[in-house]
Symmetry: C2
Subunit: 307 residues, 2 copies
């Protein structure tokens, strides 16, 4: 086996993403050792039992000691506190990155706590499932998925390349973006879809004329797919919306504007307009399949084999 | 093999549902023969080649001759014209049903054209995929799915039971409902989810600051799941919204009311409210899995085996 990319990688937070990282790092020999931090004793025990870390600590400060790569895998809302805690303990030359779904907020929360000589390079692997916790992780999660790095101006290109090499070794394709542009792109491709899914599932649970049991019983008609997304980790998503407020509100404004147009077309019985809208959307699906981000196999919610 | 349930079943329209019916009828010997009608020569040829019908006709009128079960499988918007065409040719005792996603409109469109002695029993198999056309059909589509029948008052219970037995033989669980209640239930479980999916995919295709290529590239974050739903047949869905206008607008009103509440929570940075909403929705997912309408396997869009 080749020399590992890093001496010691510290995983701060061991949920779906942290544990998936632990699996792939071990499987592909990407670090000499993996230290980890998790807040609860249960997660710490599970992380050891699953062998996604070599050692697990009760504080983030203890976990980063000796690490040359630190990856923040907690919900984004915890980043400022974690950064304040670990900052004084980071050795010069350490790369600090994260896996959060928003990126401008990482710069704001984490950068002020980083000592001179530490390389902060925010990152976001665009990968996940609706499940959470250390047992949900698996080594192939990042395979053929994009990982977006949003380095700040002035970051050492060699360190950026080192982090990019790590993500490529995890199976990802690496892309670079400005933090604010990342937050806009993800607002429409991820945050708004989640918000809408959460919203319709909430609406359906609170109707007078249709019971929740009926909604559940007949969910195969489309609703079920939304519940999958709306089953994602509540803490993570709360933090995403709080920390990407401006981009989310901007995209939400566009969404509701378009929805009002669609509503008017239905009220007026404007079938031509409806047909036109529904035809355009079909071609976008085709382009996503062509781009290799989806398979063409029809999905009606009853896969037996899982992922 | 036991005596078939029907002498001759006529499939009026041979798309995803019609061809799936053809497959399951043949596979399980549910009819002596299957006649079919499709509008285009291409579909007629494919239907014969796929052996989903024994004979195929250029008019619906020709297809229903001799049939003791007629199943309307065209988009709902064509029902009135089809009913007017076939009405005079239906033999007394024939059961006429349909597979449309709205049910009050079937009564309005079809009932006036039915001669005395013909049994109109509207129906809706809650099953489908995002694909369309005769090649998309498969015999297992209805397996373990609900089929909702919405018989009108005064319909002969024996005929209802005969049609229910047919659907059970196709693998479905049969449920009964009033047409207007069906339309409300399906508005929230199916029509609104489709409308929202169509809408966000449309919004994403027309943004100034984020390109369509970026949306496609990073679609794995949630957006992709919406494109699957928004790839459904445009004609079918145009007709659903036109023919279930009142229930759709009512449910859409509820949805946008809740979305405004969520938007306000984000604007105000009300994390407790967001966490509360996102936690409730997770439990609904769990109940859908418990109800057998979904598997627990995580889905991140890369099934290799298809359905």
């Amino acid at each position: 086996m080749a020399k590992p990319l890093f001496k010691q990688i510290a995983l701060i937070g061991i949920g779906l993403i942290g544990s998936s990282l632990g699996h792939v790092i071990r499987e592909r020999g990407l670090a000499g050792r993996v230290s980890g931090f998790a807040q609860t004793p249960e997660t710490r025990e599970k992380a050891l039992a699953l062998r996604v870390v070599d050692e697990v600590h009760e504080t983030a400060a203890d976990a980063v000691r000796g690490a040359d790569l630190v990856i923040l895998c907690t919900p984004v809302g915890a980043f400022a506190a974690v950064a304040a805690e670990i900052g004084p303990l980071l050795a010069p030359g350490t790369i600090v990155t994260d896996v959060g779904s928003v990126k401008e907020s990482v710069v704001t929360q984490v950068a002020p706590h980083m000592p001179v000589g530490v390389h902060l390079i925010p990152g976001h692997p665009v990968a996940g499932t609706e499940q959470s916790g250390p047992e949900a992780g698996f080594a192939e999660l990042f395979q053929n998925r994009w990982c977006i790095l949003t380095p700040m101006d002035g970051t050492d290109p060699e360190q950026i390349e080192k982090l990019a090499a790590f993500w490529r070794a995890c199976g990802s394709d690496v892309e670079f973006m400005k933090p604010d542009h990342h937050d806009l792109v993800l607002a429409i491709t991820s945050h708004i879809p989640h918000l809408i899914a959460y919203n319709i599932v909430g609406t359906a649970d609170d109707l007078g004329k249709v019971t929740a049991s009926e909604v559940i019983k007949y969910s195969a008609g489309g609703f079920r797919d939304f519940t999958r997304i709306a089953a994602s980790d509540p803490t993570m998503w709360r933090d995403v919306f709080i920390h990407n407020k401006d981009a989310v509100l901007e995209m939400l404004g566009r969404f509701t504007e378009d929805l009002t147009d669609l509503q008017r077309a239905i009220r007026r019985g404007d079938s031509d307009r409806l047909f036109e809208i529904f035809t355009n959307t079909r071609s976008i699906r085709k382009r996503i399949i062509d781009a290799g981000q989806e398979t063409e196999a029809p999905d009606f919610g009853r896969h037996s084999g899982g992922s």
